[in-house]
């Protein structure tokens, strides 16, 4: 009744409002889906990776004598040989060598359990003979099997024995690689940004550089790997799988990020600063070096850290230049063969033993922690030094 008198009455209004509601619902639900992907993903990684924070240890009697130097296996009771880690057994002669007092003694010691035993203790899928399983149950009752904090993961390099594998060599490799990356890409990136923002006239050359930087940012990362292989390794003869080659390749990839953010930082410095400098008789270089650059520096740092975080997670180009080698010991120089954290994750993910799954997930958690802290530092720097002009 009321509607009839209303000149604005639109019979389809109800429908339109319903459709508007539906539309809003679609919009909000897609955002929820995107975020629930993130939540699902992170909880999945935590669930898979956190068990690797602990590792099973078994208390066994080790007899240190000449016989166990000749054949380390005989140092441990026959029934326990298969449930303790091979890596621990191998170390027995070295232990005696390092500490001669141990000779001809017998000691109860906590040593690493085999990876299958570890999986069994944690309640995962395992492959154990019934005999060994019974032995573990028996040891458990005696309180001789324990889950302890897995410090090996952070102090060891890669190993073919899952319970003995750690991320340290990859972490060092990542740091060396990133050092090369930052030493190359930071100066070149900042210099390019200064040139484009402060000196360049708007001519063909400048436009070409700008188009180029845009393109460079969109080129798939694997093609940078092809460049590294063809130029750094085949043409210049730099050592394959070294942090040097990996770092140079990543430097070219981070270059566009640093240039773009550094330009934005330089642009945000108001022109009045420059004018005041010129007014006092400073030259262009002096103005840029002593006044513009220091003011833009926090912004440049933020961009650099974000660029480095991205380089740190990059895998594809590094695989192409051979940084997926098996590296048990930490590299000490940039020309040695090295591996990086994402490449280590990739190698572990391809291992057949199930114990590597939790190692991989733990490696991922470590990598994500490093990346998130880098990004947090970047955000903090931006907040702290941000100047509102």
């Amino acid at each position: 009744m009321k509607n009839k008198n209303n000149p604005f009455y639109d019979p389809s209004l109800k429908k339109r409002h319903a459709s508007a509601k539906r539309f809003k619902f679609f919009a909000i639900s897609s955002l929820v889906i995107a975020i629930s992907f993130l939540v699902f993903f992170i909880s999945d990684m935590l669930q898979k990776g956190l068990p690797a924070l602990q590792q099973s240890y078994i208390q066994v009697e080790i007899s240190y004598n000449q016989k166990s130097i000749d054949s380390p296996r005989s140092a441990i009771d026959r029934s326990l040989r298969r449930v303790v880690s091979r890596a621990e057994i191998r170390q027995i002669p070295r232990k005696i060598e390092n500490n001669p007092q141990l000779m001809n003694t017998t000691k109860f010691e906590w040593i690493l359990a085999d990876d299958q035993v570890d999986q069994y203790v944690k309640g995962n899928y395992y492959k154990l003979k019934n005999k060994d399983k019974k032995k573990i149950d028996e040891l458990k009752k005696q309180g001789r099997v324990e889950l302890k904090f897995n410090s090996i993961f952070f102090t060891n390099g890669d190993s073919k024995i899952p319970e003995f594998a750690g991320i340290k060599s990859a972490l060092i490799g990542s740091i060396l690689t990133l050092l090369v990356t930052i030493m190359v890409s930071f100066p070149i990136g900042v210099m390019t940004a200064i040139y484009l923002e402060e000196f360049a006239q708007d001519n063909k050359f400048t436009q070409m550089i700008e188009v180029n930087i845009n393109n460079l940012a969109a080129i798939p990362s694997i093609l940078f790997g092809l460049l590294g292989l063809a130029i750094f390794i085949n043409l210049f003869g730099l050592p394959r799988s070294s942090a040097l080659v990996g770092g140079l390749t990543l430097a070219l990839m981070t270059l566009p990020i640093i240039i773009v953010t550094a330009r934005a930082a330089l642009r945000s410095v108001p022109d009045s600063i420059r004018q005041a400098g010129y007014g006092l008789g400073l030259t262009k270089i002096q103005v840029v070096r002593d006044h513009v650059l220091p003011l833009a520096f926090p912004g440049i740092m933020t961009g650099t850290i974000i660029g480095l975080a991205q380089a740190m997670g990059e895998t594809a180009p590094l695989i192409i230049v051979g940084m997926i080698a098996f590296i048990p010991d930490s590299p000490t120089s940039i020309t040695e063969a090295a591996t990086v954290m994402p490449a280590q994750i990739f190698t572990w993910a391809g291992m057949p033993e199930r114990a590597y799954i939790e190692k991989t997930a733990m490696g991922i958690l470590t990598l994500l922690t490093v990346l998130i802290s880098l990004n947090t530092i970047a955000v903090y720097l931006r907040k702290k030094f941000e100047t509102k002009w």
Partner: protein, 316 residues
């Protein structure tokens, strides 16, 4: 008088050395900025030369039209059609996931969400963009692929553990932030007067978005999609870890397929001699990837520029 002249000379000579120094610094800056150009040409030529070596050994026509890819064997054949098809199909799956979610998320963030919600949600989506691709690959191979196999078993289908669907879906998740972030920027920079005019005419919020805001933002959104496609084509780790190695010409997304990037990695981590056709084929595939992503990028830059010129926006 003399003193005056001396100081003048000193002043001039100081000026001169400063001048020289400034010039040196300026040329160093120019040299630094040419490095980015050199890199692009370095990539282009290093790939091009090796690809030419490859095409000296194997037919270019067969590479583009042949359907059999068998590098390791004697009388090896390099027909890249099944590889291109696999890449294409996985990219399409990824876009099916990323496009609707990415664009609708952008619409919600720029049109509906309050600024406090937006400032909390945007960083969350950026986390999605910051996750290394090797991590997505592990997620695809260990979690998503077995899940798909189980679901398919439940409804009576047979899925491979290396199904294109698994890598496609995870790749889509990876691309969501690429699309949502650029679309969000573009939609936010559509002038408010357009919205207000439309609302004043009595259109509902949704109608305004659908018939006014999105069409106005369409060049930017198209650009975002093209960037997403180019990212999907060049994505390596997800497919290396979760998709197959076997060139398989099929449209069944539950089967395993391979992509250009997988074959590049496979060809280069092997032990073959560097100038064997099997290794060089990586560069031919790389050239194809380079050309296609470059074209997509150029088109997307064109669309962005069109949008900027139309609405006089400078912040993109």
């Amino acid at each position: 008088m003399k003193i005056k002249q001396q100081s003048k000379v000193a002043f001039e000579s100081k000026n001169k050395t400063t001048q020289v120094k400034e010039d040196v610094i300026k040329y160093m800056l120019i040299a630094a900025s040419t490095i980015s150009v050199l890199t692009t040409f370095g990539i282009l030529f290093s790939i091009l030369f090796e690809a030419i070596e490859f095409f000296k050994l194997k037919s270019f026509i067969y590479f583009l039209t042949g359907t059999e890819w068998s590098p390791g064997v004697e009388n090896s054949k390099f027909g890249a059609v099944p590889i291109f098809a696999g890449t294409f199909i996985i990219t399409i799956i990824a876009m099916f996931v990323a496009l609707p979610i990415g664009i609708f998320s952008a619409v919600y963030m720029s049109e509906y969400a309050s600024s406090s919600v937006r400032s909390k949600v945007k960083p969350l989506l950026e986390i999605l963009a910051g996750i290394p691709t090797v991590v997505y690959g592990f997620f695809a191979a260990i979690t998503v692929a077995p899940l798909i196999v189980k679901v398919c078993e439940f409804i009576g289908l047979e899925a491979s553990f290396n199904s294109a669907l698994a890598s496609g879906i995870v790749m889509g998740i990876m691309i969501i932030p690429v699309i949502s972030s650029l679309s969000d920027d573009v939609i936010s920079s559509v002038p408010d007067s357009l919205r207000k005019g439309s609302l004043a005419l009595g259109l509902t919020m949704a109608e305004t978005i659908k018939s006014v805001v999105l069409p106005a933002a369409s060049p930017g959104i198209i650009a975002a999609c093209l960037l997403g496609v180019s990212k999907a084509l060049g994505e390596t780790m997800i497919v290396v870890m979760a998709a197959g190695l076997r060139p398989n010409l099929t449209f069944n997304i539950l089967e395993d397929m391979t992509t250009v990037t997988v074959r590049i990695v496979d060809a280069l981590v092997g032990d073959q001699a560097f100038n064997s056709p099997a290794t060089l084929s990586a560069f031919a595939l790389g050239l194809a990837l380079f050309v296609v992503t470059l074209i997509l990028n150029i088109i997307s830059v064109y669309f962005i520029r069109k949008f900027k010129e139309k609405y006089k926006v400078n912040s993109l």
